[in-house]
């Protein structure tokens, strides 16, 4: 068996283990239905309050800033990104932290398996849950607000999502590395998630931010991913119309991935020296 085959087997085994653990906590599945429906639904009702029940002038003002007058669609796409971002930011770091707390991280790091296994197998196992969340949100958007994207638009949104996956996992890895140095990174992840929510146009148009914050938003891949998904789903844009954004996203992905690899290696070396792998 080659090294690659062995790593792939280890990857599959680690992902299966995660799926098995998830299955043991069925209450989590309730959360995957509850939050993706109710969180954005509340924001759509907030929009009703702020727009005076869809007053034409207020909706036009929103459309000028958001690029679409489809408020429910805007909110639901934003919250789909929020859910995805939460899973990605918590995923790799939480998996490492849990192994650290359970005392199995040191043992895992002593195996000859690639570091990609403990880092990426657990979040990959979360992919079915993310897809389920997206499905639930799509159905809720259709049933509660009557918004149904065209099938070809939905396919374009899936393509953008797939192109955005590496960027999202690179971000997750960047923060997961912090576990090796600091152990508990929950509060930091909360702050980072809050920053993304504020900066990337997830719950409100980026145009509402001051200029300096808009510059910061332009350096974050989720800004482009969420804007492009909205563009193809709600404005009828084709993939060719967003190719510039996709290229920027891929460019940022390369930068973040290199940074994550460098940081992870440096912090792993430090953790081996300080014994942090077995402490919590």
């Amino acid at each position: 068996m080659t090294r690659l085959q062995a790593d792939l087997r280890a990857f599959a085994a680690a992902a299966l283990k995660e799926l098995r653990i998830t299955r043991r906590y069925p209450a989590m599945y309730l959360g995957m239905i509850f939050w993706p429906v109710l969180l954005p639904a509340v924001w759509v009702l907030m929009a009703q309050a702020y727009s005076g029940g869809n007053d034409a002038r207020a909706v036009a003002a929103f459309a000028a800033r958001a690029g679409t007058s489809e408020i429910a669609g805007f909110v639901f796409v934003g919250f789909a990104m929020y859910m995805w971002l939460s899973t990605i930011l918590w995923g790799p770091g939480t998996a490492l932290r849990r192994d650290q707390m359970q005392g199995s991280l040191e043992a895992t790091f002593l195996t000859p398996a690639s570091r990609l296994v403990p880092l990426f197998a657990p979040p990959m196992a979360a992919l079915p849950n993310i897809l389920l969340t997206f499905g639930v949100m799509g159905i809720a958007l259709w049933l509660l607000f009557g918004v149904v994207p065209a099938p070809d638009a939905a396919i374009r949104a899936v393509v953008i999502t797939l192109l955005g996956l590496p960027a999202m996992y690179a971000i997750g890895t960047l923060f997961a590395a912090g576990v090796l140095r600091y152990g508990e990174i929950g509060p930091v992840v909360q702050i980072v998630r809050g920053t993304f929510v504020l900066a990337c146009g997830i719950t409100f148009p980026v145009a509402m931010l001051p200029a300096w914050a808009q510059f910061g938003a332009a350096l974050l891949p989720p800004t482009y991913i969420v804007a492009d998904i909205r563009a193809v789903l709600l404005r009828g844009f084709g993939l060719a119309d967003v190719v510039g954004d996709v290229l920027i996203t891929l460019g940022l992905t390369v930068v973040i991935a290199f940074l994550a690899v460098f940081l992870f290696r440096a912090l792993e070396t430090s953790a081996r020296r300080t014994g942090m792998l077995s402490r919590f």
């Binding site: 209450a27 959360g31 009702l45 009703q48 029940g53 207020a58 958001a66 702050i191």
Partner: protein
């Protein structure tokens, strides 16, 4: 008097433990700000026409967006204190294994919830002062002087929420997945109280549920007095509703808590988690 001393001691203990986690302290103040207030403010402002949120004015009778959102945060914070600090705090003691020894002290068990209410409410008041200061400095938050007339409504709502905390404590002591239950019900309770938008915008079937909560009336009275929002009902009727729901919820809460205690004694689950 002994029970009061015990309740104050419990509240002080909770605050001492909280103060040991400084990042958590900062996070508890700033999380509502960057996850709730700022996104809601910028989302609301994106509907503004010529600098005025005309839509909000048409919905609630005032275009004071910052006031509307920050006051929603007050009731949301009160609900969260009741759900997480008062009720879930008891469950946390159960998980840590300290509930059984506490239960064996001569202090009345109802006092355990009251003590948590003291600690939780003091922290709630302090965090609201910080949030209002940030709101005034950064978001142009302004209230009318009449805001003080809403204080009795908030105080009555606090009593009602202690009643709700007894009901929740009874439930979380008996179920296993308490965290998810509290998280979801906290969100629903806060939404149904009109913290994020007026309850009149709720789908029809949920409106009667909203008017069965004391916080709905407190929210409306607070916004009327503080920012001149249009009342959902006649203010006198709202006070009657607030007093009536509190008068019903508090004894129901005490009864539910006593029943849960009986059940735990019978099943021997006090030390389990």
């Amino acid at each position: 008097m002994d029970e009061l001393r015990a309740a104050i001691a419990i509240g002080k203990k909770d605050l001492t433990i909280l103060s040991r986690y400084r990042i958590a302290v900062v996070s508890q103040i700033f999380t509502p700000l960057y996850q709730g207030v700022i996104p809601a403010f910028l989302f609301g402002a994106s509907f503004a026409v010529g600098g005025r949120v005309l839509g909000l004015e048409s919905t609630v009778g005032t275009d004071n967006l910052a006031g509307f959102i920050f006051l929603g945060g007050v009731i949301s914070g009160l609900v969260a204190t009741s759900f997480w600090a008062m009720a879930m705090g008891l469950r946390n003691e159960m998980d840590q294994g300290t509930l059984e020894p506490t239960w064996l002290t001569p202090t009345r068990h109802e006092t355990l919830v009251i003590g948590r209410a003291f600690g939780g409410l003091l922290w709630f008041i302090l965090s609201q002062i910080v949030l209002f200061a940030i709101g005034i400095a950064v978001f142009g938050l302004r209230f009318r002087p009449e805001i003080v007339f809403a204080l009795p409504a908030v105080i009555v709502a606090i009593v009602g929420m202690v009643g709700v905390a007894y009901i929740l404590a009874a439930i979380v002591l008996l179920i296993r997945e308490a965290n998810f239950f509290i998280d979801c019900t906290n969100f629903l309770f806060s939404t149904a109280s009109g913290a994020a938008f007026p309850v009149t915008l709720l789908p029809g079937v949920f409106v009667p549920v909203a008017f069965a909560l004391p916080t709905t009336y407190a929210m409306d009275l607070l916004r009327q007095n503080a920012i001149g929002a249009r009342p959902a009902l006649d203010p006198t009727l709202e006070y009657v509703g607030l007093l009536a729901t509190t008068a019903v919820l508090y004894p129901i809460g005490r009864w539910a808590f006593a029943r849960a205690e009986q059940t735990m004694r019978r099943r021997g689950t006090l030390a389990q988690y």
